[in-house]
């Protein structure tokens, strides 16, 4: 396992805390080779290519992670990519893990995991609503929070809000 290459993150202590180490080895074995361990900040994560997400989620589900906290997206316009984050936990265990994948910003689309966890259905609808990321073979992908006639995807960094109701702090 290659040690995580800390780019501008403060280098985490060389040795991982023991329980994270155990978690990493356990899941690395389960998720297979294309899952790269990544610990930026405090939330342990595995980076996966987009097409491996659904199978990884299925294996996670069998491995006892029966509770998907949420699915969310983070917009990196400078690197022209969306980062989709799946955080899964256990209803009767202490572990929690995040699966992270990248998709290009122009016509973003990724496989839906709503067959694995039903809760993903609404979370993915919200991401589609606020980020404009399409999820393949999702049961009914339509806007969940905003009005159907709303144009634009508000949570994108480059979203210009005509009503100027969000004020940028001058730092």
């Amino acid at each position: 396992m290659s040690t995580p290459t800390p780019d501008q993150t403060p280098a985490p202590p060389p040795g991982l805390p023991p329980e994270l180490e155990a978690l990493r080895d356990k899941l690395a074995a389960v998720l297979g080779t294309d899952a790269v361990w990544e610990l930026k900040g405090k939330l342990p994560a595995f980076r996966l290519p987009a097409k491996a997400i659904v199978s990884a989620c299925k294996t996670l589900r069998q491995a006892g992670f029966d509770y998907l906290l949420f699915v969310t997206a983070v917009d990196y316009p400078s690197e022209n990519r969306f980062e989709i984050v799946y955080v899964a936990g256990q209803y009767n265990g202490p572990d929690q893990i995040a699966l992270v994948t990248d998709i290009p910003r122009d016509n973003p689309a990724v496989e839906s995991v709503s067959q694995v966890w039903d809760t993903a259905e609404w979370h993915e609808r919200e991401i589609f609503d606020l980020f404009g990321i399409r999820f393949e073979n999702h049961r009914d992908l339509r806007r969940i929070l905003l009005d159907d006639t709303w144009e634009g995807y508000p949570l994108r960094k480059d979203y210009v809000d005509k009503v100027h109701n969000v004020v940028k702090r001058p730092y």
Partner: protein, 377 residues
């Protein structure tokens, strides 16, 4: 006995579709949620919730406000668990900055959160009575809730959205007679829960309308990510205070209220039991709390969130609230994702209400205890 009409029964398809709009302005949706209900006579064939009427874009605002400023927004998510929401945000910021919160502040946080849980369940109990048609419980519930609000007003200054638990500890030390008032409230309220039981739980009409109604099977609940009392009523022993202990909860001994039937009656009993558990927690916390000491860690004027991903998980009165924070070294968070308990709880609702009647939608939704601004964020 209470059993849903099998939806595939012949009566279902002889009716052409009869849609009814429950909401967004409806007395028992407790907020602006619109349920489009497909009816066959009185029997519900399907429910599709429409949300977003109270969407303020709190996650977008999170990207334009510093860590200290965002606190006041979190208490406007699930305004009935204001302290716990602030605590979730404070915890994620402290996790990011690596701040150590003083001992007394930790105890104050636990007491304030448990008081909020009691006041939230009181309001739920009163409104549950009103949804079933009895108006008196509402008045009794608010009479007791006033006492909790007075305690908050004396220490935090305001009554509903307190902005008291901030990153680094709590805004101010507790009021001089905070301990005396809280103990007096516990003595005052403990016998009153029996009165609540006498008025509603003992009532056969309430039992008839809730037993066996809208059963939430545990597997379905887990798959839809349901958390909180609604889940524990279906027999799944999941409580963030136990599974992912935070603050000083490991030092306090309490049981998680559990039931197995998973129907509206179980959800009702679980919440009443939770109120009793909260009373136990508060009295223990009051005993163990250090009498004096700092209540707020020293923080730099400008909090720069180090790059990386951070996650905090808290048990609010309605389920698990998780806040996911992505920092990029600047004082403004790069991305704030709020995993709200009501959002997932509501997603399980359409699946369990098929075949029941219009009156059961109101009963079941009242036992789901939804707060709509928490869904729309």
């Amino acid at each position: 006995m209470n059993a849903p009409v099998p939806v595939e029964s012949p009566v279902a398809d002889t009716y052409q579709d009869y849609f009814i709009n429950m909401g967004p302005q409806h007395p028992s949706t407790h907020g602006v949620l619109r349920l489009v209900v497909k009816l066959a006579g009185e029997t519900v064939l399907g429910v599709s919730p429409h949300m977003g009427y109270v969407h303020r874009g709190i996650e977008k605002m999170g990207e334009a406000q510093t860590a200290m400023q965002f606190t006041h927004l979190t208490s406007r998510l699930d305004y009935l668990s204001a302290h716990m929401n602030n605590w979730a945000w404070a915890m994620v910021v402290e996790q990011a900055l690596g701040v150590q919160v003083p001992e007394r502040a930790e105890y104050l946080r636990v007491i304030m959160s448990e008081l909020t849980r009691i006041s939230s369940h009181q309001l739920w109990w009163g409104v549950f009575g009103m949804d079933l048609g009895a108006f008196t419980p509402f008045l009794y519930a608010f009479r007791d809730r006033e006492k909790v609000n007075d305690i908050f007003e004396k220490t935090c200054g305001t009554r509903l959205t307190m902005n008291y638990i901030v990153p680094g500890g709590v805004m101010e030390d507790a009021d001089a007679d905070f301990e005396k008032d809280t103990r007096a409230f516990l003595e005052y309220f403990k016998p009153l829960i029996e009165e609540y039981e006498q008025l509603l739980s003992g009532n056969i009409i309430v039992q008839e309308r809730t037993k066996g109604v809208a059963v939430l099977p545990p597997e379905l609940a887990k798959s839809y990510g349901v958390t909180g009392p609604t889940l524990r009523a279906s027999g799944v022993d999941y409580d963030v205070r136990k599974n992912h202990p935070y603050g000083v909860y490991p030092r306090l001994s309490f049981q998680t209220a559990l039931a197995t039937e998973g129907d509206s009656w179980a959800r009702y009993k679980v919440r009443l039991e939770e109120m009793r558990q909260s009373i136990k927690i508060i009295s223990q916390a009051l005993d163990q709390m250090p009498k004096s000491g700092p209540v707020r860690a020293k923080l730099p004027a400008v909090l720069r969130i180090p790059p990386g991903r951070y996650l905090s998980r808290v048990e609010t009165a309605r389920g698990e609230l998780a806040i996911f924070l992505v920092g990029d070294g600047k004082p403004l968070p790069y991305r704030v994702k709020i995993r709200s308990p009501n959002f997932s709880n509501l997603s399980a609702f359409p699946a369990i209400i098929k075949g029941w009647r219009v009156a059961d939608i109101v009963t079941a939704m009242s036992t789901f205890d939804l707060v709509i601004p928490d869904i729309d964020r």
